[in-house]
Point group: C2
Chain length 147, copies 2
DNA sequence: CTGTTTTGAGACTCGTTTGTCTAGAATGTA
DNA sequence: TACATTCTAGACAAACGAGTCTCAAAACAG
């Protein structure tokens, strides 16, 4: 569905949105907080920066920070930046060129699912996800439960 | 989403349901009709037969045939037979152990999508898909448009 | 200037999936 | 029996994703 790199990217942005606003946080620190591989997480920073979602800075006190208001960053933006514009975009049955003019037998039903996913990605912002971390007992980390 | 092998399996069953009832059709013939690799399609027959969805017979006049009424074969059965019982079952963000007690920030919204997909797999039968091939201008083949 | 911290880019390994191919076991026909 | 047809199982290679590692460039601190 979403590539691992894309999942890491979303987690990183939500983590940054949940932290202090203007601070540049080193990638390895964010990775430790999220319980992820620092090396692999670092590979997502490039695409995110090129897409204008984060800004990064080298050297001591460097790191990564959000480039925009987290309420203006949609999950769709992250997916597009890392995975490209193709989440669930293709035919369920794998038929090439399946579409309105030459649909497969499941095309209509699958289009409904696709629309749901698309709306979810468009409507959900990184800031909204971060806000829910506080109000509800949600988690971002892959580590052991710390309840 | 669905593995290639699983997609091939669904296409094969719908193709068989669309053909004559009791006939054993050679796999290479079905593959030609669907525009798929015969060797790869053949690898899906084993799991499908073990799951009791098709029966196969060797030798001349042999081949593959549906083992049951196609209206009693759900797409879910094919997915379970080939991919196992895990379509979209996991967390969107990839968090291990994400669930009702320790949800990720997108858990609730994603559960709705998951339920949609699950219902689609459960409600759709191979027979229903085959029936729609006739009434509407649908296609199964990966080959060039034959309009 | 020297050394440390950090990003950035890429090579590399590993496992899974996709796809092709081969050999063998059934099955039917002459 | 001899032979053609077909499934069955598995070996094999190519492609991809995930993840680790290394080296260089930038930035700062002393």
């Amino acid at each position: 569905m979403l590539s691992r790199a894309c999942q890491y990217g979303i987690l990183l942005l939500v983590h940054l949105a949940h932290g202090e606003g203007g601070r540049f946080e080193p990638v390895h620190e964010a990775a430790a907080g999220l319980g992820l591989s620092a090396h692999f997480l670092a590979k997502t920073v490039g695409p995110l920066a090129r897409a204008g979602l984060v800004k990064s800075y080298r050297g001591p006190n460097g790191g990564v920070a959000l480039a925009r208001d987290p309420m203006q960053i949609h999950v769709r933006d992250v997916v597009r930046a890392i995975d490209g514009s193709t989440p669930v975009e293709c035919c369920v049955l794998g038929l090439p060129g399946c579409g309105e003019n030459r649909p497969c037998p499941m095309h209509d039903a699958w289009s409904a699912v696709r629309a749901n996913v698309s709306r979810l990605l468009d409507d959900t912002t990184v800031g909204a996800l971060a806000a829910r971390l506080d109000t509800e007992s949600l988690r971002l980390s892959s580590l052991d439960p710390e309840h």
